[in-house]
């Protein structure tokens, strides 16, 4: 079975979907791995490094795409690239299936089996392939670094001959994977950390990292079976805003990570709340790319509102591309290996399995994932 790994073409993207380490393991499984020249460059892996572990390097991208029985990549493909894929092949990448309806339809039309990395279920067993988690984790760390670099103060407390510097106050909204890592990192640096999340189970998790949990009574909230948050009612969002207002005003750093799976993230920090912060404070809006938790945040840009710096993040994990690549590549490998048939040297699309049915979007010419199917058909 031939695995094709094209170079990521998205501007600024440094990550890749393989490392020499994982390619070596794939080759050991019996796969025939072809990699586009330069695919590993951004993450610090040369073509030679891949060649050494048994991959073939291909410089003709179209030929590569057309030859792979299975294509492993990170970003979703351009719409026109789908046509270049070998019909019937398996294509694994982020897909954003809730929004990219055309792309999904195209996959179905070309009879390509599209696996969406966003849709990997959140079960204990599937964690090893869960790229959302692995990347969010790194993003949480780097978000704190960005904030620390921008803040005109230091995070830790210091009692020095020139007076005592108080520890910075960091407030984190949304304590999922990224939020928890942000809490841990800010704590490590010595900040006083407070966090909030709508899912009640999170309080304990925040405390387990030494953070303080802000108690807000929003009435009925909760989480889905995959551990994602339920969307709040507009009243609840308003309640939350009011309750957070004071904490935000007192904070030096605010990091927002609130997401609702499959929907636009809630707008939790309004302009007046931003203005309520002291000049020099820093906000990192980790939901900026999909709509933003903070009013006025711009994805991939740093803006200043009333002396407050708002960092609207795009793909933060890309800032630590080497580690991010290592993790994403492991996720890929684990996915391939999980149902790999060593005798036949083939990936088996086992739809009885506990993971694949959740993340295979199109197969055999049709959209097979029920939720996505509903949405796309609903959207007409």
């Amino acid at each position: 079975m031939r695995l094709a790994i094209p170079r990521e073409t998205h501007p600024g993207e440094d990550r890749a979907s393989v490392t020499p380490d994982t390619v070596k393991k794939l080759v050991r499984l019996g796969a025939d791995v072809a990699i586009e020249s330069g695919a590993g460059k951004g993450a610090g892996h040369s073509d030679d490094a891949f060649r050494e572990v048994g991959a073939t390097i291909e410089s003709d991208r179209d030929a590569l795409l057309g030859s792979g029985d299975m294509v492993l990549r990170l970003r979703k493909p351009e719409l026109d690239e789908v046509a270049k894929l070998k019909p019937g092949c398996i294509h694994v990448s982020y897909l954003d299936p809730f929004n990219e309806h055309d792309l999904i339809r195209e996959f179905a039309a070309r009879e390509i089996t599209a696996i969406s990395m966003e849709m990997i279920p959140r079960s204990t067993r599937s964690q090893k392939m869960d790229a959302l988690s692995s990347q969010a984790n790194l993003a949480g760390y780097i978000a704190v670094m960005l904030a620390a670099t921008r803040l005109p103060r230091i995070f830790p407390m210091m009692m020095t001959p020139a007076g005592t510097l108080k520890p910075a106050k960091v407030f984190i909204i949304g304590a999922g994977v990224a939020g928890l890592q942000a809490i841990a990192t800010a704590k490590r640096l010595g900040a006083r950390v407070t966090a909030f999340d709508t899912r009640p189970v999170v309080a304990e998790q925040v405390q387990s990292l030494g953070g303080k949990f802000l108690e807000i009574d929003l009435g009925d909230t909760g989480q889905t079976k995959d551990g994602y948050a339920q969307e709040l009612t507009p009243e609840q969002v308003e309640m939350q805003r009011q309750a957070q207002k004071e904490v935000i005003a007192e904070s030096d750093v605010l990091i927002t990570t609130a997401q609702v799976f499959g929907r636009k993230p809630p707008l939790l920090v309004t302009r007046d709340m931003v203005e309520g912060m002291a000049p020099g404070s820093v906000i990192v809006d980790m939901a900026a790319e999909t709509g933003g938790n903070v009013e006025g945040s711009v994805p991939n840009e740093v803006v200043e509102v009333n002396g407050v710096t708002i960092i609207g993040t795009g793909s933060l994990a890309n800032l630590v591309a080497r580690d991010a690549t290592q993790m994403y590549a492991s996720n890929m490998f684990n996915l391939v290996e999980d149902t790999w048939d060593t005798e036949a040297k083939q990936f088996v699309l086992d739809m009885e399995n506990d993971i694949l049915p959740g993340c295979v979007i199109t197969h055999g010419g049709a959209v097979v994932h029920p939720t996505i199917k509903n949405i796309i058909e609903g959207a007409g």
Binding site: S123, T124, R125, G210
Partner: protein
């Protein structure tokens, strides 16, 4: 001052030395000197005894002492280090037989009932100690097979022996002049010693020896009552009491109850007790301490519960103490332990656990066989053997840390509640698992206290 006062004082001094000696034996730094103090006590006691005015003829005494001393010294010097336990068993048996003989010798026609009772006791206990110790010696030195010897009807035989001993003893106190009752008690005691020890397996022999050691103390004590000698009583009951406690401690260290040690042999033949598989076995910190204390290789498997309890610092402390106690300590970190990637890393780094001590799952699993104690601290899903054993489990196929391969597993959690995945954990029901219930930080705190005192 007349000799009787000297004798009295001498015995008091000797007993004091025994007490000091035992106390010193309890701490590694002073143990060796403690043994010498105790030996000095013995010397004082013997010298005082030799000054007894009742002694008119030293021939036999000196003969006996020289012979016994020579045998003892030669045996003690010659024995190989590895054979010391059986040598102790042998010595112990001889001590028991001495009590038997003294009790017997103390028999006078005009003895009071109380004295007669104590004579019977010293003979009985001495006899059981003698043959029991000999069997233990045989099993340990592999002169006889070390397996459990059981046969059908064993319990009936035993009951008969016990009834025989009891009636013989009663008859003897009533009719002390009829030597047959005495012989009956002696004989049956010897038989009973054999019967009591043969069904016990070789591996449990150290516990048996410790128990018999306690008996030989009691025999000396009984002999003391019989011949009205304080120093025998004090020394004998010290040995008796400390022996019993030591036996308990050793049982705990072996993770068995004393009844279990003594009667497991019967159980297997009578088939009356069926092994209830999958029973929850709670343990308290003190008992856990005894096991940990004896462990030379410990693996710590932290999970989300360690984070919730914020127990990282006390975990580190425990690991330091275990290392100071000579154990090798490693941490096994499962990749999904906790609630965020690297959750355990942050906390353990905070507590200054060196990176080299952290092993990944793939590194620790092959070593688990050699681990004496695996301490699971607030982990659940990541040590769930259902992932290997139960095909229907939602986590089937996920690699987990195979703690059950360790000799003993302690699981520290607050209840039988399940973890993140919400599934039952068969680990908690395994034969070698002990549940230490309570908040992890508190439980660990108790262990640390035990270990550092």
């Amino acid at each position: 001052m007349d000799t009787s006062v000297i004798t009295g004082l001498g015995y008091v001094v000797a007993s004091g030395l025994f007490i000091f000696g035992l106390k010193m034996l309890g701490s590694p730094a002073t143990a060796r000197r403690g043994n010498m103090v105790s030996a000095a006590g013995m010397l004082v006691a013997i010298v005082v005894a030799l000054m007894d005015q009742g002694i008119v003829d030293y021939t036999w005494i000196i003969g006996g002492m020289v012979a016994g001393g020579l045998v003892g010294a030669v045996a003690a010097r010659a024995v190989a280090m590895t054979s010391m336990p059986e040598m102790v068993a042998l010595f112990n048996g001889l001590g028991g037989s001495a009590s038997l003989l003294v009790g017997w010798a103390a028999l006078t026609p005009d003895a009071a009932t109380f004295t007669l009772v104590t004579i019977v006791l010293s003979i009985l206990i001495g006899g059981v100690t003698l043959t029991g110790s000999l069997i233990a010696y045989g099993k340990l030195s592999e002169i006889m097979g070390s397996g459990q010897i059981v046969f059908r009807g064993q319990q009936i035989v035993n009951s008969l022996v016990i009834i025989g001993i009891f009636s013989g003893a009663v008859m003897f106190t009533m009719e002390p002049t009829n030597p047959n009752w005495l012989y009956m008690v002696i004989g049956l005691s010897l038989v009973f010693g054999v019967m009591a020890v043969i069904p016990i397996g070789g591996a449990d022999m150290p516990v048996v020896i410790s128990l018999l050691n306690s008996y030989s103390g009691l025999a000396a004590c009984a002999a003391g009552f019989a011949i009205d000698n304080n120093v025998l009583i004090v020394a004998g009951s010290l040995v008796g009491a400390s022996g019993i406690i030591l036996t308990q401690i050793m049982c705990k260290a072996m993770n068995r109850s004393l009844t279990n040690v003594l009667f497991s042999g019967f159980a297997s033949v009578s088939n009356e007790v069926t092994e209830i598989e999958g029973e929850i076995k709670p343990i308290n910190a003190e008992d856990a301490y005894y096991i940990l204390e004896a462990a030379s290789s410990v693996a710590i498997i932290p999970g989300y519960g360690m984070a919730v309890a914020q127990a990282q610092h006390v975990v580190k402390e425990l690991s330091n103490l275990l290392e100071a106690n000579g154990a090798e300590v490693v941490f096994g970190i499962h990749p999904v332990a906790g609630r965020m990637p690297g959750h355990m890393n942050v906390l353990l780094a905070e507590a200054d656990v060196p990176y080299d001590q952290l092993l990944e799952m793939d590194e620790i699993n092959p070593r688990m066989d050699n681990v004496d104690v695996a301490i699971v601290i607030g982990a659940n899903d990541v040590v769930n053997p259902a992932a290997r054993e139960v095909e229907s489990s939602p986590i089937y196929g996920m690699p987990v840390i195979n703690v059950a391969d360790a000799r003993t597993v302690f699981v520290l959690k607050r209840s039988m509640a399940s973890g993140f995945a919400g599934i039952e954990n068969p680990l908690f029901y395994k034969e070698n698992t002990r549940m230490l219930f309570g908040d992890a930080k508190e439980s660990l705190g108790k262990l640390v206290t035990e270990l550092s005192s």
